[in-house]
Symmetry: C2
Subunit: 476 residues, 2 copies
């Protein structure tokens, strides 16, 4: 990993620090000799801090943009006045259509739903960036009041939740079918800055599909470690098709997670599982993009599925930064929804976060089947500072909610449906009010898992190819 | 089907005519009594003609836009001068970000990759439109020369094709994972105009998934007829999940196609298979969008998979209209690629289109496994007027090309890979030149079919959860 010592690489890395979320120790983003660091000496997870955004105007940036950026200080001391300038910058980029001018090899970074917000994601020279582009996922209005004409089927979701003004942001519309692409474009870009030849992760499936795809695009080798028998078929097929070396571990996700850390340290492979602090920075873009789609009018609640707690941490951090920069005028409350069989965060929440819990995870929602979440401390901070809540829902509640989302014509993978199941419960309990403005996150596409919660194909019996046979079916 | 007789409905329908592609007979778009017509009395397929676009300024259109539209006459007599005005209109809409203003139920039509071009698709009052939105699919630069930094893995595709300046447009990035959503948003909108309560299609899978999703959104019943055992698992799962009544026919696609026509006529269900003339109008948007993404600089070649020939017809029609309106300065040549086991169009082409051929279709590429294509006559016109070609590729060539696309990190369903297999063959034969500017269409996402052409998961053997076991795997 040598490129980090070239001038561009080291310039980037010098402006970034890594802060331990447990003991607050501060580290350079890269150690002497170009070695990346993933954990604090105390074992804690590390969070990215930018020392000064102003040092990194985008390549080719106008004087105007440089002025905007010079008004933004390090995260610890964000200047509220920068908000309107940044909003103008981001809104201007959102009007850029994805046009390839003749023979040019431009990157369309403004069109990426991640790199559009690059000053708040990773200030890196453009030539290092590995982007499909990604993001630009739909925000579907599905509430009883806001679903509009042409979406009367979608209104069933709002009815089920009991919410008048509900939006669902469908992260399954990313290139590989899940939100993971947002973190991966940043993680693989960082691997590229470091000159890495290979990247690896442990995953419940979506991360490995995304890693395999972005590693292939960048010409790097990909290694993915999956818990055997616990990965939906679509996700496994993606990792294999994109050409990653796919190793099924005879153990659960937490065992795979532990192993990949050892393997990366031993073999000098860049680690891209959720320990990687830069992936969280990319996932923040879910938060920025949904705020922009709401014209920077923050919702009252953000509801999302919670497994390893990376998304809770990332979207919470995005909201915090947007609030500090005055991009929004209040912090949305965050509701993290866990499967009842994989609920360590819920257990901790019920005790007022007195201690971190671990469980042996069991749920049909494989994407959140995690017993020992890596981002516990970060996510706890998010719940505390947004006056948030953690809820649990049973597999039966997840499957019932999935049927509602599927039958509306939108569809999602099982873990995503925890969002709807959880918001229904919180509305019933009076925590979320019927007229609150609520955004829910769907994390993956229906096609990621075409078995769990899909009606059996036996309901579509083969009939003879004549009209009488069809008539008798339709009469049933 | 009563709404057609309301003032809005009848106004729309009066400006549209249906022209038989075989005998050129002209019909109103709707018969007396509100009955839709799908075929000419001679049995021929019908094509939509707009009598005058100027009668339908978008709701709330400015004087300026009305003036643009009044300059555009019926398709038979398109006014070239309208091109620059239309380009300004479409380019202006392409800069509209998908922002939901507070509490508004706007439709974001300008953000749809279909309805952005609505004057050339279906002039219909906004309140009838059923849109996700759809389209806005990526155009990936993957040629040896134009793939740019950050895409060195994608360059393998250009190397395999032997092309310097190649783009792949990935229609698998539509909401239900295939290009079919572009035709379906228009078809279901037309069903809505007609006040239909139920819609039906026969399908190799992608159409049924799309119909099921859009019917659900619109609150209509969906019926899909599938050839039993010939539909990829992802597509079948989608139809079932979205709640369509799914009937597997003990016969091939052509038998299912025949049956659904009878059923719709008998039961008054609106027919949305490829006979439906309005779906083709929506699919034209693939052509308009790729031209816009290339800044209206038409490519030399457009290469696409060919089964039922709807896409060849639709994209050809889009190019013809864009050329007649001076949106582009030359017509791209079109290369339609068939599977060798399902090659009736190729057989006709080799005889100079002396006669229409039928075959018993056999190919692993289920999406183009069609022996008797509905849009033969329209597609023949496209190949003839663009100086195009029809090529065939074996299943082995399709699978080899799919591996290249998958391993690059982009991925696609088997039928899509016919595009790359075909262009490689045409470059080898010298029909397409190495330095031609070429666009290829990928029709569906990798996740539509996670079995065909995916490396067996046996290559990812489960190993014990310890570092020694992993080390031994990595050493292999």
């Amino acid at each position: 990993m040598n490129d980090a010592r070239t001038s561009s690489g080291s310039t980037i890395l010098n402006t970034l620090s890594l802060r331990c979320v447990e003991c607050f120790a501060l580290y350079p983003s890269i150690e002497e000799g170009g070695k990346p660091r993933y954990r604090c000496d105390c074992g804690g997870v590390l969070d990215v801090e930018m020392q000064s955004l102003s040092a990194f105007p985008p390549v080719g940036a106008s004087q105007e943009i440089s002025t905007v950026l010079s008004n933004i200080e390090s995260e610890g001391d964000l200047v509220p006045a920068a908000g309107s300038d940044l909003r103008q910058l981001f809104d201007g980029r959102a009007t850029t259509p994805p046009i390839w001018s003749a023979d040019a090899d431009n990157l369309l970074l403004d069109y990426s739903g991640v790199w559009r917000y690059r000053e708040l994601i990773l200030p890196v020279p453009e030539q290092y960036i590995i982007s499909r582009p990604e993001g630009n996922t739909s925000l579907y209005p599905v509430g009883m009041e806001n679903c509009g004409p042409g979406r009367i089927g979608h209104r069933q979701i709002g009815l089920y939740a009991g919410l008048e003004r509900l939006y669902l942001k469908h992260e399954g519309e990313n290139p590989t079918g899940s939100f993971k692409d947002r973190g991966m474009t940043v993680g693989v870009t960082m691997a590229n800055v470091l000159g890495a030849q290979a990247v690896a992760c442990a995953s419940t499936g979506n991360t490995s599909a995304s890693l395999a795809s972005y590693a292939a695009q960048a010409g790097m080798r990909g290694f993915v470690f999956l818990p055997a028998g616990n990965v939906a078929s679509g996700k496994l097929a993606q990792s294999l098709a994109y050409g990653a070396t796919t190793i099924q571990i005879d153990g659960d996700f937490d065992a795979a997670m532990h192993l990949v850390e050892q393997v990366c340290a031993e073999l000098g492979i860049y680690l891209l599982n959720s320990l990687n602090p830069f992936r969280v920075e990319g996932q923040k873009a879910i938060g920025f993009e949904l705020l922009q789609q709401l014209d920077w009018q923050a919702p009252d609640w953000l509801v999302l599925p919670a497994g390893n707690l990376g998304n809770t941490s990332a979207i919470g951090k995005a909201f915090r930064q947007a609030y500090q920069l005055s991009l929004i005028s209040h912090l949305p409350r965050i509701a993290s929804i866990q499967a009842a069989g994989a609920n360590p965060f819920y257990r901790s929440f019920k005790q007022g976060f007195a201690q971190q819990e671990h469980v042996q995870a069991h749920t049909i929602a494989t994407a959140i089947k995690i017993g020992n979440p890596v981002s516990y401390t970060r996510a706890r901070r998010v719940i505390e500072e947004t006056d948030g809540v953690v809820e649990e829902v049973t597999d039966e509640e997840i499957l019932a909610a999935k049927t509602i989302i599927d039958r509306s014509g939108i569809g999602c993978e099982p873990a995503s449906a925890a969002t709807l199941a959880g918001m229904r419960k919180l509305v019933e309990r009076g925590v979320i009010k019927r007229d609150d403005r609520v955004v829910g996150i769907l994390t993956g596409t229906l096609l990621k898992d075409t078995q769990t919660g899909i009606p059996p194909s036996a309901t579509s019996t083969a009939v003879a190819a004549n009209i009488e046979a069809v008539r008798s079916i339709l009469r049933q």
